[in-house]
C-alpha cells in the first residue's frame, strides 16, 4: 500500500465525513438545546435527496433543487415540531419515541412516492469530471462537497459565536431556566435550531446524493453513523460534531478498504473506545 492508497482514502473519507457533518450538526444542536434525540434526522436527509432528485428531473439546476429540497424538508420538520414535538422538549423519551414514529411514517411515505429502486444522483455538470495528480484520480465533486461542508460549518460556528441568536442559543443550552428568567425568548431559539437542523439535513441529502445515492433504507444506514459522530464528538457540541464527522468519515473509508468484511464494525471501534474512556465524548459535557 503506497502513498496513493492513503491519499485516495483520506480524500474519500473527508468527503464522506463532510456529508455526515450535515446530518450530525443538526442532531447534536437539537439535542443540546432541546434534549430531543431526533431519530428522523436521516429521514430528513433522504427526503431532501428525493425532492431534489425530482426537481432535477424537471430540469432544475442541481444547487437550486438541493436548496428547494432543504427548504421543503425544513417546512415539514417545522410543522411536525410545532404540532407535536414542541410539547415534549423536556421529556427526552417521549420526544424520541415520537421522532421514531415520525421516521417510520416518513420512510413509508417516501417509499410510496418514489418506489423502492435506488436512484443515482449526478453531480452538477461543471463538477462531473475528475482531477488527476500523478497516478491519483479523484472526483472533483468530492472536493466541492468538502468545501461546501466546511463553509456551512464556518457559517454555523460564526452564527453561534458572533450573533445575538447564537448568544441566546448558547445561554439556553447552559441554563435554560435562567435564560427564560432573564426574559429571553428561548422558544424562538428552539424553532430556529430545529428548522436549521432540518434545512441542513435536507440540503445535505442533495449535496451528499452523488456519493450515497438515494434509496429506501439509506436513512437507517446513516443513522448509526450520525450517532457514532455525536457520541465521539460529544452530545450538544458543534465542534465535536465537526471533528467527529471527519474522524468517522476517515475511519469508515480506511475500514472499508482494509477490512471489507468488518468495515461496519471498524467504525464503532472509536465509538467503543470513547464510550469506555470518555463517555461524554471528546468535546461534550457529562450527560
Amino acid at each position: 500500500m503506497g502513498i496513493q492508497f492513503y491519499v485516495q482514502n483520506a480524500l474519500g473519507g473527508l468527503a464522506y465525513g463532510s456529508l455526515l457533518f450535515l446530518i450530525a450538526s443538526g442532531l447534536t444542536l437539537i439535542f443540546g438545546l432541546m434534549r430531543i434525540i431526533n431519530l428522523a434526522q436521516t429521514a430528513f436527509y433522504l427526503l431532501g435527496a428525493y425532492i431534489g432528485l425530482s426537481l432535477v428531473g424537471q430540469g432544475w439546476n442541481f444547487w437550486l433543487a438541493g436548496l428547494a429540497g432543504g427548504v421543503l424538508t425544513m417546512a415539514l420538520g417545522l410543522a411536525v415540531y410545532s404540532a407535536f414535538l414542541h410539547r415534549y422538549h423536556a421529556d427526552p423519551l417521549t420526544s424520541l419515541l415520537l421522532t421514531l414514529g415520525f421516521a417510520l411514517i416518513l420512510d413509508d411515505g417516501i417509499l410510496a412516492r418514489w418506489g423502492g429502486d435506488p436512484h443515482a444522483i449526478a453531480p452538477p455538470a461543471m463538477l462531473g469530471g475528475s482531477i488527476t495528480v500523478g497516478s491519483l484520480v479523484f472526483p472533483q465533486y468530492w472536493l466541492a462537497l468538502i468545501g461546501i461542508s466546511f463553509l456551512i460549518a464556518a457559517i454555523m460556528f460564526l452564527s453561534l459565536q458572533r450573533t445575538m441568536l447564537g448568544v441566546i442559543i448558547r445561554a439556553s443550552v447552559d441554563d435554560e431556566e435562567m435564560a427564560r428568567g432573564l426574559g429571553v425568548d428561548v422558544n424562538r431559539a428552539f424553532y430556529i435550531v430545529f428548522a436549521a437542523g432540518a434545512l441542513i439535513a435536507g440540503l445535505g441529502g442533495m449535496l451528499g446524493g452523488p456519493i450515497t445515492s438515494a434509496y429506501p433504507g439509506l436513512d437507517g444506514e446513516l443513522l448509526p453513523l450520525a450517532f457514532a459522530v455525536v457520541i465521539v464528538g460529544g452530545m450538544g457540541s458543534l465542534t465535536g460534531a465537526f471533528v467527529g464527522s471527519l474522524l468517522i468519515g476517515l475511519v469508515n473509508a480506511f475500514g472499508k478498504a482494509m477490512f471489507p468484511e468488518l468495515s461496519y464494525f471498524t467504525i464503532f471501534v472509536p465509538v467503543a473506545l470513547i464510550m469506555a474512556f470518555r463517555p461524554q465524548g471528546l468535546f461534550g459535557r457529562k450527560l
Binding site: 434534549r35 407535536f84 419515541l97 421514531l100 414514529g101 417510520l104 410510496a112 468488518l262 450527560l287
Partner: protein, 325 residues
C-alpha cells in the same frame, strides 16, 4: 370477588382458550401468527422489565434477541448442536454474555446517554451479522434450521410448535411476575424512581441495573431461539434497529410496566402488520400512525386505554374519577 380472584379467573380462561384454539378449527395461518405472538410477547416482556421496571430504555434488545436466534442457526449449521434443551440453554447463555458486555459499556451513562449507547451497540451487532459473511451468512442469513424434538414429541408441525411457544410464554410471564414482585423487583422499581435515593440507602444501583439487563437478556435470548425455530431462517433483519423499534412499540402499545400488557402489544403488532400487509402496501405507515397516536394520547397503552373507554361507555366517569388516586 377480590381483584386477585378476578385476575386468576381471567388468566385461567385465557389459558384454556389458548390451549383449545388449535383444536377449534382455527386456520393454520392464524395459529402461526399466534405462535409468533407468544414469541414476541416474551421479548417484549423482557424489554418491559428494563423500560417499565428498571427505567432503562434499552435499544439493543433486538441484538440480544438476535444473538439467541443466531446461536441456533450457527450451532445447527456449523457445530451440529440441535438438541432442544441444549440449544435453549446455549441461546440464553449467549444473550446473557452479550448483555454482560453491553452493560459494561452502556451503563456508564444513564437516561438519554444510555439510549444512544445502546443504539450504537445494537448497530455493532447488526454490522457483524450483515458483513461478517463467513460466519453469519451476511445479508442472505442462514437457512436450513430444523425444529427439534421436545423429548418424545415431534413439534415440527405448526400446531405442536404453537404449544411449545405457549408454554415458554407462560413460563416467562410467571417468572417475570415473580421477579418484579420479589424484593429484587422492588429495588429495581426504586432504582427507576429515584436512583440517587437508592444509592443513599446503600444499594448498588449500577449492579442492580446490570443484573436486570442480564436477566432481561436471558428472556430475550430465549425468545430469539424460539424465533429461529419458528422462522427456520435467521438474517440481519432479526437484530436490526427496526426490530428493536417494533419490540418497543409492542411494549408501549401494551402498556409500560404491566408485563401482561405486552401480550396485547405483541398481538396487535403481529396481526396488524400481517393483516394490513395483505390489504395495503402502506401498512408500515398505518402502524407508525397507530404508534404515534398511542405515544401522544394513550401513554398507558392499550391496557390502560380499554378500561377507560369501557368505563366511559358505561357512563361511569364519575365513579372512575373517585377511583383514581
Amino acid at each position: 370477588m377480590s381483584v386477585r380472584t378476578r385476575w386468576a379467573i381471567a388468566a385461567a380462561t385465557g389459558l384454556i382458550v389458548a390451549l383449545l384454539l388449535p383444536r377449534l378449527g382455527v386456520p393454520t395461518f392464524y395459529i402461526s401468527l399466534l405462535t409468533q405472538t407468544w414469541i414476541f410477547a416474551i421479548v417484549a416482556m423482557s424489554l418491559d422489565l428494563l423500560v417499565g421496571f428498571t427505567g432503562l430504555v434499552n435499544f439493543s434488545q433486538a441484538a440480544l434477541f438476535g444473538v439467541g436466534a443466531y446461536t441456533v442457526a450457527i450451532g445447527a449449521t456449523r457445530f451440529h448442536i440441535t438438541g432442544f434443551a441444549e440449544v435453549i440453554v446455549l441461546g440464553i447463555v449467549a444473550a446473557v454474555l452479550t448483555a454482560a458486555l453491553f452493560g459494561l459499556v452502556a451503563l456508564r451513562s444513564e437516561g438519554v446517554g444510555f439510549i444512544i449507547m445502546t443504539i450504537a451497540l445494537n448497530e455493532i451487532v447488526w454490522g457483524l451479522a450483515y458483513q461478517w459473511v463467513s460466519v453469519s451468512g451476511g445479508d442472505n442469513g442462514i437457512t436450513g434450521i430444523v425444529r427439534p424434538h421436545v423429548g418424545p414429541f415431534d413439534v415440527s408441525a405448526n400446531t405442536g410448535y404453537y404449544y411449545v411457544c405457549l408454554a415458554f410464554f407462560v413460563l416467562a410471564l410467571a417468572l417475570l411476575l415473580i421477579v418484579v414482585r420479589s424484593p429484587f423487583g422492588l429495588v429495581l422499581k426504586g432504582v427507576r424512581e429515584t436512583p440517587r435515593r437508592m444509592l443513599a440507602l446503600g444499594y448498588n444501583v449500577w449492579l442492580y441495573r446490570y443484573l436486570a439487563l442480564m436477566l432481561s437478556a436471558g428472556f430475550a435470548g430465549m425468545a430469539g431461539v424460539l424465533f429461529a425455530w419458528y422462522n427456520q431462517f435467521v438474517g440481519p433483519v432479526t437484530l436490526s434497529l427496526d426490530q428493536t423499534t417494533q419490540i418497543l412499540i409492542m411494549v408501549i402499545l401494551g402498556g409500560i410496566g404491566t408485563l401482561y400488557g405486552q401480550l396485547f402489544g405483541a398481538f396487535v403488532v403481529v396481526f396488524l402488520s400481517n393483516e394490513l400487509s395483505a390489504v395495503t402496501q402502506r401498512w408500515e405507515m398505518i402502524l407508525g400512525l397507530v404508534y404515534f397516536a398511542v405515544v401522544m394520547y394513550a401513554p398507558g397503552g392499550l391496557v390502560a386505554l380499554v378500561p377507560r373507554l369501557w368505563a366511559r361507555l358505561r357512563g361511569r366517569r364519575a365513579a372512575l374519577a373517585t377511583e383514581e388516586p
